[in-house]
């Protein structure tokens, strides 16, 4: 087995919050609390969680836009933290990002050509003439035309802007693309278009995705393997089909049930009994329908479940 393209080991990111009173101790928030995984080239990995789960922080840490408090992020075997600034910049050509907000991730005062070409600025060896050609190539790959390069972002719809963001992410022909909620802000019918585009590009350009979202169905569509994130930790990981078909962790089950579906009749949702917010034990216990006393006392860690699956639960579903 070759070395993974992206390797994350024991990643921790802690934020200091404002002191509630002058001499009170400063509270901290563990946004990412010990996350580790690896992605092999050509396979795609999805991270699913709700807001506050730490998934966006994870994305930024992987993109070296934030320094981790602890842990390592290695791309192509090289730890991103230790790299001197110049080398990190050069490496950025190999990993790019697609952001969530199609209305905020493009500079409203720049033309599309300039926006899409921006990552090339970090690549010293790409000259002016080649730049224009690459822009046209990237726009073509996402279904836009050369004429669009001279327009401004406000002349495009949300779905089109997201395509532009994808073109920008692909222009340096990166090996890894981190997509942070790339379709969440789009209408369902446009989501399908953009997801198709991402699948196609995966096949044609051999891009590896780290796909982060709260939408299980979209993640399941693109990714080989999924990790479910809750309160800064992975609570379940495994191959997409198995994980979505037979969730082992109660939280995964909650996500699967909550996803709007057309075919089945919904299960009547039941509210868990009110429990105190504990600092020990499983962080999901307060919401879990199946919590036992042990769950409030002891925090479970990720344990293998067979067939490449791991789950952090004392009483995984399905026995």
């Amino acid at each position: 087995m070759s070395a993974p393209l992206l390797e994350v080991v024991d990643l921790v990111k802690v934020y200091a919050l404002a002191r509630p009173a002058w001499f009170a101790p400063r509270p901290y928030r563990r946004a990412v609390d010990g996350v580790g995984f690896g992605i092999e080239a050509g396979r795609s990995f999805g991270v699913v969680g709700e807001s506050g789960s730490g998934k966006s922080t994870l994305a930024r840490a992987v993109m070296a836009l934030e320094r981790p408090t602890a842990g390592v992020v290695r791309l192509e075997g090289r730890p991103l933290d230790d790299l001197p600034r110049r080398e990190l910049r050069a490496m950025r050509a190999h990993f790019q990002m697609i952001f969530q907000d199609p209305y905020g991730s493009l500079d409203p005062r720049q033309k599309i050509a300039r926006i899409v070409a921006e990552p090339l600025a970090a690549l010293a060896h790409v000259g002016r003439a080649e730049r224009a050609g690459r822009v046209e190539e990237a726009l073509g790959a996402v279904g836009l035309g050369a004429a669009d390069a001279q327009k401004y972002p406000h002349e495009f719809s949300g779905g089109q802007r997201q395509r532009i963001a994808i073109a920008r992410a692909l222009i340096t022909r990166p090996r890894l693309v981190v997509a942070d909620e790339p379709v969440s802000a789009l209408d369902v019918s446009i989501q399908a278009q953009v997801l198709n585009l991402m699948s196609d590009l995966q096949r044609e350009a051999g891009v590896t995705y780290l796909f982060i979202s709260h939408d299980l169905a979209a993640v399941g569509h693109i990714c080989d393997e999924i990790a479910v994130m809750f309160h800064g930790r992975f609570v379940e990981t495994g191959p997409s089909a198995a994980l979505l078909g037979k969730p082992a962790h109660p939280y995964t089950r909650e996500l699967v049930d909550a996803a709007p579906k057309l075919a089945e009749t919904p299960l009547p949702p039941s509210e868990p009994p009110p429990r105190p917010d504990a600092t020990t034990g499983c962080p999901y216990a307060a919401r879990c329908l199946y919590a036992q006393p042990r769950c409030l006392e002891e925090a479970p860690s990720l344990r293998p479940l067979g067939e490449g699956r791991r789950v952090a639960c004392h009483f995984p579903l399905g026995g």
Binding site: Q193, L216, C223
Partner: protein, 324 residues
């Protein structure tokens, strides 16, 4: 019939003259029922909702009839509409952060309609507000009432907005994409809450969304709009199982199904929705529709009711609901 809309058309002013954004929409809603309106951005669904509330931008021209509790809303003046809003007719919006005043406590905002329409004293209104926050299943309602919007999560803010909308016991609540900005798990809970509140108080719900699955789960009937025009309407089961309009069918097929083979191509609808319905004669979906014929562009759409209450507007569908 609580609400009857017939032949609603909305024109908005634009630099190039009046622009028709909603063409000839008709539907009805009985007390306690839930109706979902589905469509992409630009389909006119929000404009329709705003027309019901009388909140269209200045210069908008509304034609057609809108009867609410027997009253013809189009003929009412602003003062009369203000008496209805918040009292008999309420609306909740997509972005709870911008729909709530960031500088006012939640309790005060929830109490506002009570003070306005029921002439309640501030203290009594505050107490009622706390009761309402409890009714929308917020934990520790007193603390929430005292808090400001920024201290709450998206789901909590949306529940607070629902509490505000419910305060005077309206007969109709219009929810415009209430969960689009929220996570999936919170989404499900908010929609369930709306449904159960509707049942408890015999309140009718008009739920607007771009996601057919959201509407399917929580509404009794559904309306699909495109380009400002009604494409298909009917009971949810009928529309889901026997959708006849090419647009509705495309919407149904566009969703990735969990468990489907990975990498399978989604049946996306090629092209983009028209930015606004312009002055057109035929079907707004013509050109983007795989079944387009010349007649689709030149002739106004018929309305075909091929089974009980299930209507479709398409030139390619005959009176029995078969594709021609």
């Amino acid at each position: 019939m609580l609400l009857e809309v017939s032949g609603l058309a909305i024109d908005l002013p634009s630099p190039a003259g009046a622009r028709r954004v909603v063409h000839d929409v008709s539907f009805s809603l009985a007390a306690g029922e839930s109706l979902g309106v589905v469509g992409e951005s630009g389909s006119g669904k929000t404009m329709t909702a705003l027309a019901l509330m009388g909140l269209l931008p200045d210069g908008a021209v509304v034609s057609g009839a809108v009867r609410f509790e027997g009253l013809e809303l189009a003929r009412l003046g602003e003062a009369e509409m203000q008496r209805l809003r918040g009292d008999r007719l309420a609306m909740i919006f997509q972005e709870p952060m911008s729909a709530l005043n960031p500088l006012q406590r939640i309790g005060a905002q929830v109490a506002e309609p009570l003070v306005l329409h029921r002439a309640m004293a501030k203290a009594a209104a505050w107490a009622e507000a706390v009761r309402l926050l409890d009714r929308v299943r917020l934990r520790d309602p007193e603390r929430i009432a005292r808090a400001y919007p920024f201290a709450l999560s998206g789901g909590e803010r949306q529940r607070a907005m629902i509490a505000m909308a419910l305060s005077c016991g309206p007969k109709l609540i219009i929810a415009d994409e209430p969960t689009t900005a929220l996570d999936v798990t919170v989404q499900a809970k908010i929609l369930d809450l709306l449904a159960s509140l509707g049942e408890q108080s015999n309140m009718a719900t008009l739920l607007i969304s771009h996601d057919l699955a959201v509407v399917a789960r929580h509404c009794r009937s559904v309306l699909a709009m495109y380009g400002g025009t009604l494409m298909e309407s009917g009971p949810v089961d009928a529309v889901l199982r026997r959708a006849r309009h090419p647009y509705t069918r495309a919407l149904l097929e566009a969703r990735p199904r969990p468990g489907a083979p990975r990498g399978e191509r989604l049946r996306a609808i090629a092209g983009v929705a028209p930015p606004s319905a312009s002055a057109l004669v035929g079907c707004p979906f013509a050109g983007r529709c795989p079944l387009t014929l010349d007649v689709c562009r030149t002739t106004p759409l018929p309305t075909i009711e091929f089974e009980a209450e299930h209507r479709v507007r398409c030139h390619r569908v005959d009176a029995e609901g078969r594709l021609t």
